[in-house]
């Protein structure tokens, strides 16, 4: 771990996030005021971790076989006998609801000839291999050995499915392929405290989009771990977004970035009015009618937060909505739990997950889930909408405005991957900023520890 920063040197001009919080119209919880910056230094990050097959193979062995990872939501397996399949690289995990409050995970492979026990999610009363019919109970006990007389070496008691560690938090199901993995709560640290007011378990998957990318999984996720790229990749929004006023904090295995909206980017050479900031936040063109007007004496932040509260109160407890600060209603609060889980805080419904695409080291899966509150009966979770490597993320209409943001991000990612090969002809690493790319540096701080074990 790097050094904790004791003062606020080397920060962008403009308002600090603490100063922005002071303008909030609602009480701000202590967790948002807590700062935990860490200085990881200024060393370059070797680029071959993104481009080399050798590193991919090492990651499979030293990270993906070891670490806790988000596999599915509990709502994907609501009834006893429901199953979900989670693939990571060349490995596959079968997750099974075995009791009202019990979830188990097994290596997804028949102990006879190794075929996947299940190819996809669905309900099951038993776990039967489609090849020769070896069958296990949902609890993992071997029940049926076809032609049992021909397998004198198979002792049913010794052929139970191996139970993998399962961790549960906020409706998320985590698994590890390491039987000796550290306790889930220790790995999570204080993350649950940061989310305790957001009722993640009371959300449903309203949208789930999986885009296959032609880049390494780390290349993909790093596009979502800092606001440094906003002025260049998403210039249209910076009139109302304090990109370099973002705050970056580190808490054990997770890091947090907070990017304020309703405040101008310090990159601007002009002073936008509150109305111009709101128009930018709402993506209003010069030739379009205004959606919202900022009255005299009000701010864009206040107006956007008020509109969000009214909207959310339609599907959530109004008292709870009223307890949330403006910051929680409108700012971008994006966490990263090592290695690849990115839940957003506040009332932003985004959760990202990035992982290798099969065993390909230069392809990845970029997933976006919208976790939304609901009233009444829990709606069923959205099915995964797969988008191929050569298809546009704009096809993900269910993501609304965000698909257009992703269209800009995904324009870069494959070109970053391709460019990093050429980069290594002239220098071995990428040059990260000291503060704004804190989350990337924090990731590699933990990554290097796993890789060196």
């Amino acid at each position: 771990m790097g050094k904790n920063i004791e003062n606020k040197r080397d920060r962008s001009p403009g308002l600090s996030y603490a100063e922005i919080l002071d303008t909030d119209t609602h009480p701000v919880s202590e967790i948002w005021r807590t700062e935990s910056p860490v200085d990881f230094g200024t060393a370059d990050q070797p680029a071959d971790v993104y481009t080399s097959r050798r590193f991919h193979d090492l990651e499979m062995e030293k990270i993906w076989l070891k670490v806790w990872q988000f596999a599915c939501r509990e709502e994907h397996i609501p009834d006893i006998g429901d199953t979900e399949v989670y693939d990571i690289g060349k490995f596959s995990v079968l997750i099974v609801r075995t009791g009202i409050d019990e979830i188990k995970a097994y290596p997804n492979a028949c102990l006879h000839r190794g075929r996947l026990l299940r190819d996809c999610a669905g309900h099951a009363t038993e776990l039967r291999c489609p090849y020769h019919g070896y069958t296990w109970s949902l609890e993992g006990e071997l029940k049926v050995v076809p032609s049992e007389w021909d397998f004198p070496q198979v002792n049913k008691d010794e052929y139970a499915l191996t139970e993998l560690p399962v961790g549960r938090w906020g409706g998320f199901v985590f698994i590890s392929l390491d039987l000796d993995v550290e306790p889930f709560e220790d790995f999570l640290g204080t993350l649950s405290l940061h989310f305790e007011n957001y009722r993640m378990e009371e959300r449903f998957v309203e949208a789930h989009v999986a885009k296959v990318m032609r880049c390494n999984w780390k290349t993909a996720q790093e596009a979502f771990m800092e606001a440094f790229h906003l002025a260049t990749t998403h210039p249209a929004i910076i009139t109302g977004t304090g990109d370099c006023n973002s705050r970056y904090d580190v808490f054990g295995n997770f890091a947090r970035a907070v990017t304020p909206t309703g405040t101008p980017s310090p990159h601007l050479t002009w002073d936008p009015s509150e109305q111009e900031m709101l128009d930018a936040m709402l993506d209003r063109g010069q030739d379009e009618e205004r959606l919202g007007v900022v009255p005299e004496g009000k701010t864009a932040r206040e107006m956007a937060a008020m509109a969000s509260r009214m909207r959310v109160a339609q599907v959530a407890d109004p008292e709870w909505v009223e307890s949330l600060s403006d910051a929680e209603m409108i700012d971008s609060i994006y966490y990263t739990l090592f290695p690849n889980f990115h839940p957003w805080g506040g009332f932003n419904r985004i959760v990202y997950r990035f992982r290798p695409y099969g065993d390909e080291h230069e392809m990845s899966i970029f997933e976006t889930l919208y976790l939304s509150p609901f009233k009444g009966d829990r709606p069923p979770p959205a099915k995964v909408h797969w988008i191929g490597p050569d298809e546009s993320i704009l096809e993900a209409h269910e993501l609304g405005f965000l698909a257009r943001v992703f269209d800009q991000d995904t324009f870069n990612m494959p070109q970053v991957q391709k460019g990093m090969h050429t980069l290594q002809l002239v220098k071995p690493g990428i040059t990260l900023s000291r503060y704004q790319e804190t989350k990337l540096r924090h990731f590699f701080d933990i990554y290097n520890k796993y890789m060196s074990k």
Partner: protein, 84 residues
């Protein structure tokens, strides 16, 4: 169709279609692809490809019927207007 002023360069980006963007700066205009490649016109300079994509994708989504949904910040203001 969707005209925006670039916050940094102050050039005007106006999507003619979901593939063609008109860029105007210092009184001169040119047509560019959604990736910022020059097509024609008096203005022939480097333009911002991401800004081209931004305005063009608005048209693409509009043509596909994707409006200000409940998930968008704009959706909250649309709802407020409808309630009035």
């Amino acid at each position: 169709m969707h005209q925006m002023i670039h916050p940094l360069t102050r050039a005007i980006y106006d999507a003619e279609t979901d593939e063609v963007v008109k860029v105007t700066r210092d009184g001169k205009s040119g047509l560019y692809t959604r990736n910022g490649e020059y097509i024609s016109g008096e203005l022939k300079q480097s333009v911002d490809p991401e800004m081209c994509r931004w305005v063009a994708s608005y048209v693409e989504h509009k043509n596909a019927g994707v409006g200000a949904s409940a998930r968008d910040r704009a959706g909250a203001f649309v709802a407020m207007k409808e309630e009035k």
